[in-house]
């Protein structure tokens, strides 16, 4: 089997996505500037002269025409310079890179948890096909699917942080533990991130469970399973080396998009547990009228989403060459 990557369709895909992204960002750039509200307002205080407000506006380049601002933005963005955040007084790129490692860690752990737990539960349910466990799990997943994260998050905080006092309710680490060992730090992080990761993965878990469960069911009815079973291949082997890989295939496309969205920030969870992630950064930028940061966050989110769905496609390609043609659409 030839192992060459289908460069042309992939390139085409990337270009389209990049173009869509460019349009979105441009649209946003104009939108935030024509919208009411003014970023210089936050600098008003009794001690300040109104002249300073004008100065601030000038330094934000807000006194210029929109198209002038836009052109200079595009020019700068091409060289990787997204401007300086109004609120942080630092380059947008730096601000975003400050929160990105945490966001990725947070998103990947929640993603891994929901994927693995979803798979294991689906296997479990499949084993108990149509028995009480299976029904219970599918009912339970339907219930879980309907619980918004701000409900589950707050209830968890109430039970685990307020009543039982097992887990901290916010932040990512205990500040003050400066000279502690790596191991202690790890434990500290884990304790802080346990509840948020759990809450974040609970919303995705039922989806994966359902996906896997239904795929198993479907594939089981297919001829090749019957054939394998007739040939005396063990159930365990069928599951491990046929049913699961076959199901993975269709899930990866969904998972790619899902991970991308997680990367761009799990807004509600971050708000509830006051975590320093992309979601909260974005919403604070929006509420603080921090135009360069809004645009920067959107751009980052867009790039991450394109990247993950591309990654998903590549993995799928390696699993199944037949899909190359499907990608073209």
């Amino acid at each position: 089997m030839k192992r060459s990557l289908p460069i042309l369709p992939l390139a085409k895909r990337i270009t389209t996505s990049a173009f869509v992204l460019f349009l979105t960002v441009s649209f946003l750039f104009v939108l935030v500037r024509i919208a009411p509200g003014d970023p210089s307002q936050k600098f008003i205080s009794p001690n300040l002269s109104p002249k300073l407000v004008e100065k601030v506006k000038t330094s934000f380049q807000l006194d210029k025409q929109i198209h002038v601002q836009y052109l200079s933005f595009v020019k700068n963005a091409a060289t990787g310079n997204l401007g300086v955040s109004y609120a942080f007084h630092r380059p947008v790129v730096e601000v975003i890179f400050d929160v990105l490692p945490f966001t990725i860690l947070f998103a990947v752990s929640a993603f891994a948890l929901q994927l693995i737990a979803g798979l294991l539960l689906a296997v479990f349910a499949f084993h108990h096909n149509q028995k009480i466990w299976d029904k219970l799990l599918s009912r339970g997943s339907m219930f879980l699917y309907a619980v918004p994260s701000f409900v589950s998050g707050l209830l968890f905080i109430y039970v685990f942080s307020v009543q039982l006092k097992i887990f901290p309710s916010s932040g990512i680490k205990t500040v003050g533990t400066l000279e502690s060992s790596f191991f202690l730090l790890l434990v500290d992080y884990t304790k802080h991130l346990f509840l948020p990761v759990l809450v974040l993965s609970l919303t995705g878990l039922p989806v994966y469970f359902k996906y896997f469960r239904e795929n198993f069911e479907e594939n089981q009815k297919k001829l090749f399973t019957l054939y394998l079973r007739a040939n005396g291949v063990s159930e365990r082997k069928i599951l491990l080396s046929h049913l699961i890989p076959n199901s993975l295939n269709s899930i990866i496309a969904y998972a790619g998009v899902d991970l991308g969205i997680l990367f761009s920030g799990a807004l509600i969870t971050e708000v509830i547990f006051s975590l320093p992630g992309m979601g909260r950064l974005t919403i604070n930028a929006i509420l603080g009228h921090d135009y360069p940061l809004i645009v920067g966050c959107t751009l980052t989110a867009g790039i991450l989403i394109i990247f993950t769905s591309l990654l998903a496609d590549l993995i799928r390609l390696n699993i199944d060459k037949r899909l190359i043609k499907g990608l073209l659409n």
Partner: protein, 396 residues
């Protein structure tokens, strides 16, 4: 009774009657009308109805939610904003009751209008009532009644109090699901919150439906450039976490009842668009369609006649799911403080305010949360059942 009185007033003094008309009252009339009309209607149509045995959890919950939606004023018979004597009534746990002392009401003035007004006050409740006083404990001496309100003392002359056999008239007010930080009844607010959630859901979904179907038809019909443009637009909407756009629009352009509906409506049309477009494209390749076209029948007319029934099923199913999404989004927005404002109670906003009292009052979060979960389960279930019924092979 109120209706009769109002009608009387309407005939006798048309102008005043119009001034008296308010939405709350209309709401009350409608609820009253429906509560009588529906059983009557059901009675006449009883043969066509499914028997009780086929009723499942889903039927029950759909019925209950609709019932609440329609009859909110009749169920609670209280203003959702009612508050009084916060010191005594705030943050009460579920199933608590509070004593209320009744003050003498103003002497009635005669006249049709005043009769009507006093009746109206009894039916359409206000958010205040200066004729009652809540208290923890009470002491009565010769000329005064002293109420204790959480450390505060209020002394009232006996002459101002409504007496019953020489004793002050006392009633109990029950807070079935507890009260919030203003001493407002959580049960009432959840009931009225149902209306807001469902109303926003209906309106936003209808908006999405119109946009999705119209654009879908457009893309499917004309193909070519329009199709490409619209498809790219859909990609654009689908490729980003839409919640940020919603927040941005609401934060920059202001949030209100209408803007929430519009924004949610505009952010949910993509899947409908794809379904409609897909169905129409597949229809165009069908043999009978091509034959009909060759026979000289108008393509547009044909498409409309043929396409509508075909797309109806997936569109309805999708709409139901979309409805669930909107209900969820609305409560999430309200939770973030970007909902419809605080003129009306909303589940998400209730949870948001409960967040501050998390350690003291779990009921402020639990019950509205339960309402959201119940609604979402019901809607998702309904969607799944519908999909199954129309097309057993389709996966929802």
């Amino acid at each position: 009774m109120l209706l009769a009185s109002y009608l009387g007033l309407l005939f006798s003094d048309y102008r005043t009657a119009l001034d008296q008309f308010s939405l709350n009252m209309a709401d009350y009339f409608c609820s009253l009308f429906l509560i009588i009309a529906i059983p009557v209607f059901l009675y006449f149509k009883r043969k066509k109805l499914p028997t009780l045995k086929t009723f499942s959890f889903l039927h029950y919950s759909v019925t209950v939610i609709f019932y609440i939606f329609l009859f909110a004023p009749v169920i609670t018979n209280d203003n959702f904003d009612f508050q009084k004597d916060i010191s005594v009534t705030r943050l009460l746990p579920p199933f608590s009751s509070i004593h209320a002392l009744h003050l003498k009401s103003d002497t009635k003035k005669p006249g049709r209008l005043n009769d009507f007004l006093s009746l109206k006050r009894n039916v359409v409740k206000n958010s205040f009532d200066d004729k009652i006083v809540f208290y923890d404990s009470l002491r009565q001496n010769k000329s005064n009644v002293v109420c204790f309100q959480n450390g505060l003392l209020i002394s009232l002359p006996l002459s101002s109090i409504d007496l019953l056999n020489g004793k002050p008239k006392i009633s109990m007010r029950h807070f079935v699901l507890g009260s919030d930080e203003f001493g407002r009844d959580i049960f009432n607010r959840i009931i009225y919150g149902t209306r807001i959630s469902l109303l926003i859901g209906f309106c936003a979904v209808i908006l999405s439906l119109i946009i999705g179907v119209v654009l879908g038809f457009l893309a499917g019909f004309s193909g070519g450039v329009t199709d490409v443009l619209l498809s790219r637009l859909t990609d654009l909407f689908l490729s980003f976490p839409i919640i940020f756009f919603i927040i941005l629009i609401l934060a920059f352009f202001g949030n209100s009842f209408i803007s929430v509906i519009v924004v949610l409506g505009f952010s949910g049309w993509m899947s409908l668009f794809r379904i409609v477009k897909g169905e129409i494209l597949s229809l165009k390749t069908k043999d009978y369609f091509i034959t009909a076209q060759q026979l000289g029948l108008s393509g547009t007319k044909l498409l409309l006649r043929e396409a509508l029934p075909v797309i109806a099923v997936p569109v309805i199913v999708n709409t139901v799911f979309q409805f669930g999404n909107v209900v969820l989004s609305e409560s999430a927005l309200s939770f973030l403080g970007l909902g419809i404002g605080n003129d009306f109670p909303s589940w998400g906003a209730m949870i948001n305010s409960g967040q501050e009292y998390l350690a003291q009052a779990w009921w402020m979060i639990f019950f509205p949360g339960f309402a959201i979960v119940l609604t979402l389960i019901t809607v998702n279930d309904l969607g799944r059942k519908l999909a199954h019924q129309f097309n057993p092979r389709m996966h929802a």
